[in-house]
């Protein structure tokens, strides 16, 4: 999935701006961003549900606009707001969606339903929000397509079902499927995704492997000294956000950690901790800094 310079405007409002993103075959890419950042707009524009203003989207090497039918044959999709016919039974709905994908074998549909504890003989309108989401998940995976695009896949699911969903995602990935999913649950992205793309105010901020991103973002170093120290001691390249509170120094070290250690080695240290950022901290850092992590 190759997105180049994708822009979507709603009149004067910019939904997404000049977005470049590549989703590799066989990976799970998590798409992060707060509400209104442009996640859903990106997904829906790629699927042709929204008309792009400019740019280019290629999926399986095919043009998303001209070859949309061919692309959709190989793509499963779970929208952020999944709805179906309230008066019809779940199995009727799932069989209809399966047949629309050109698949007649419903064995995977049945297996997925059993696994997610979904009663397919019930009317869709009588299901709880979580069970409706399960219908959405089943329909996204049941046709065994190569690319799965999901907008907030675990929305409305209880923690147990969320775990089952993660298992499912990992299994699909193991089978070679490519998954592009948006989420606002950072732990979920950290748990299942290979790479993460962060979008803010309609613009893509970063696309990185989670580990690389953590590496790039540095580590949080907290040192408690026995005596007061001169803050200029930490004027080292790679030390950011330095704060001195009494005898306690807090900083983010993105590089030259050995230099920092050498400098403090001459001081008496009471306590010291070096923490790797969680994805949540990374995300919040991106947003608090108001830009590309700078």
């Amino acid at each position: 999935m190759n997105i180049r310079g994708l822009t979507k405007k709603y009149g004067d409002i910019v939904g997404i701006k000049d977005l470049d993103l590549y989703v590799y075959e066989g990976e799970i890419l998590g798409f992060l961003g707060p509400n209104g950042a442009g996640k859903t707009t990106t997904i829906r524009t790629c699927l042709g549900l929204l008309q792009k203003t400019s740019g280019d989207v290629k999926i399986f090497g095919l043009d998303s606009h001209k070859d949309s039918i061919e692309i959709r044959k190989k793509t499963g999709y779970l929208p952020g707001d999944f709805g179906m016919y309230p008066d019809l039974k779940v199995k009727t709905i799932l069989r209809y969606l399966l047949s629309q994908s050109g698949v007649s074998d419903d064995s995977k549909m049945k297996k997925l339903s059993e696994r997610l504890e979904l009663d397919i003989n019930r009317k869709y309108g009588n299901l709880s929000k979580g069970n409706k989401q399960k219908v959405g998940l089943v329909q996204a995976f049941m046709a065994d397509q190569d690319l799965i695009i999901m907008d907030e896949p675990t929305s409305g699911l209880d923690p147990l079902m969320q775990q089952k969903c993660y298992e499912l995602l990992r299994e699909e990935k193991a089978k070679g499927k490519t998954i592009f999913m948006s989420s606002h649950i950072l732990a979920e992205v950290e748990e299942v995704c290979d790479r993460v793309a962060i979008i803010r105010n309609a613009e893509l901020q970063v696309v990185e492997k989670i580990d690389s991103l953590k590496e790039k973002m540095g580590k949080k170093l907290v040192i408690e000294f026995e005596n007061s120290v001169d803050p200029t001691l930490f004027s080292i390249e790679g030390v950011e956000d330095f704060e001195m509170d009494g005898r306690k120094a807090t900083m983010i070290v993105t590089s030259n950690l050995d230099e920092v250690v050498k400098k403090i080695s001459k001081q008496n240290i009471v306590n010291m901790s070096l923490e790797t950022f969680s994805l949540e901290q990374l995300f919040l850092t991106y947003y608090s800094r108001g830009g590309k992590g700078e």
Binding site: Y10, T40, R44, L47, G48, L49, L50, Q51, I69, E70, R72, K73, T75, Y77, P79, G80, D81, F82, G83, M84, Y85, P86, D87, L88, T92, Y96, L97, S99, Q100, S101, G102, G136, Q139
Partner: protein, 355 residues
């Protein structure tokens, strides 16, 4: 084969409402036809005792006429009354003797137009009591209904044309308009459009299947109603006055009108995305069409207005009387519907699907 799946799904989703509507229509149509014999009787006896009093023209057109009536038992003489309306009559003359049951009357008038008069024959009994023998006129009577609608409701064709021209288009048109809008807007509003269109089905196919399903619904309603009409007309003993094919053809000829309504409603649904707004537009269109047609029907000099309504292109009267079918009208409506559907397709293929 994926063709027809969306159509089939829509049928599965909305058949209950359709069956309910069909039951209501069947009861109304059947009930209407069953009311025909009593209507006819009521209209035939519109002037009290008119079957007992006859009028024979003796001279000129109706300048000198002879009133004759059946002998009335116990009558001593008869009183003849005349007036310009059946409610305002004045005594004219007296005919003595129970056996004298005729009266010659010479109409005196100025100008070229012969005045229209009502006559009443009243029997005066020996005890002085008076009793109406009957009434008659020197002109061919029309009822107010006949004057307004310009049709002879006295036969089954005229009676059915009242059915067509009154609530038919309104009742079925409004229902069909609502359904045509809903098959599109409910997919938006109930959040299923995204999933449906994420499957390998083109927007064109989706929309055409939605249009087809409502068109077939309507055709099914019309075939069933045509059959109910034939059955009920037969059961009231009128199938010798009208052929079953005229009943079915006149019913089916309304299909192109409904296709126009379906196309417009689908277009409104696609464009406005909201059930309330699109149903509003559809209903306003139908009511305005109906209103213009009524004004054109009832107002002398404004008949031309009817050419601006789709309803006018359904010539049920000719079909009911077994006359030639207006193929141009059918063709015009089909072209109009096709244009509206193409417009809906063009808009739908280019639009953003709302969340």
């Amino acid at each position: 084969m994926k063709i027809g799946k969306t159509m089939l799904m829509e049928l599965k989703n909305s058949w209950r409402g359709f069956v309910l509507f069909l039951l209501v229509v069947i009861i109304l149509v059947g009930g209407f036809v069953y009311a025909y014999p009593s209507f006819r009787e009521a209209f035939e006896n519109d002037l009290e005792g008119s079957e007992k009093v006859g009028m024979e023209v003796l001279e000129g057109e109706v300048v000198k006429v002879r009133l004759s009536w059946e002998e009335f038992e116990h009558a001593e003489n008869y009183s003849i009354l005349v007036g310009e309306s059946p409610n305002m009559m004045v005594p004219l003359d007296r005919v003595d003797g129970v056996e004298n049951t005729y009266y010659d009357y010479v109409l005196e008038f100025d100008g070229d137009e012969i005045p229209e008069r009502y006559f009443a024959v009243v029997a005066v009994r020996s005890d002085g009591e008076r009793e109406l023998v009957g009434m008659e006129t020197n002109f061919e009577r029309t009822t107010a209904f006949q004057e307004i609608w310009g049709v002879d409701y006295g036969d089954i064709q005229g009676f059915l044309s009242i059915l067509w021209s009154t609530w038919w288009v309104l009742l079925i048109g409004l229902y069909i308009g609502y359904i045509s809008v809903s098959v599109i807007t409910k997919d938006y509003e109930e959040d299923r459009m995204d999933v449906i269109l994420s499957k390998p089905i083109s927007r064109r196919q989706y929309l055409l299947e939605k249009f087809t399903v409502v068109s077939l619904y309507t055709l099914a309603v019309l075939v069933i109603i045509g059959s109910i009409l034939i059955g009920s007309v037969y059961s009231v003993g009128e199938l010798n006055s009208i052929s079953y094919s005229a009943l079915m053809v006149s019913t089916l000829l309304s299909w192109p009108v409904f296709l126009g309504i379906i196309s417009l409603s689908v277009l409104a649904g696609v464009y406005l995305e909201s059930s309330k707004k699109a149903v509003g537009i559809s209903f306003i269109f139908i009511l305005i069409q109906y209103g213009i047609n009524m004004v054109g029907d009832l107002t002398e000099g404004l008949e031309y207005l009817k050419t601006y309504t789709v309803i006018n292109y359904w010539d049920y009267e000719s079909a009911l009387y077994g006359e030639a079918v207006g193929y141009f009208d059918v063709f015009f409506l089909l072209i109009l519907s096709a244009l509206l559907v193409v417009s809906a397709l063009v808009i739908f293929e280019r639009k953003d699907i709302p969340v």
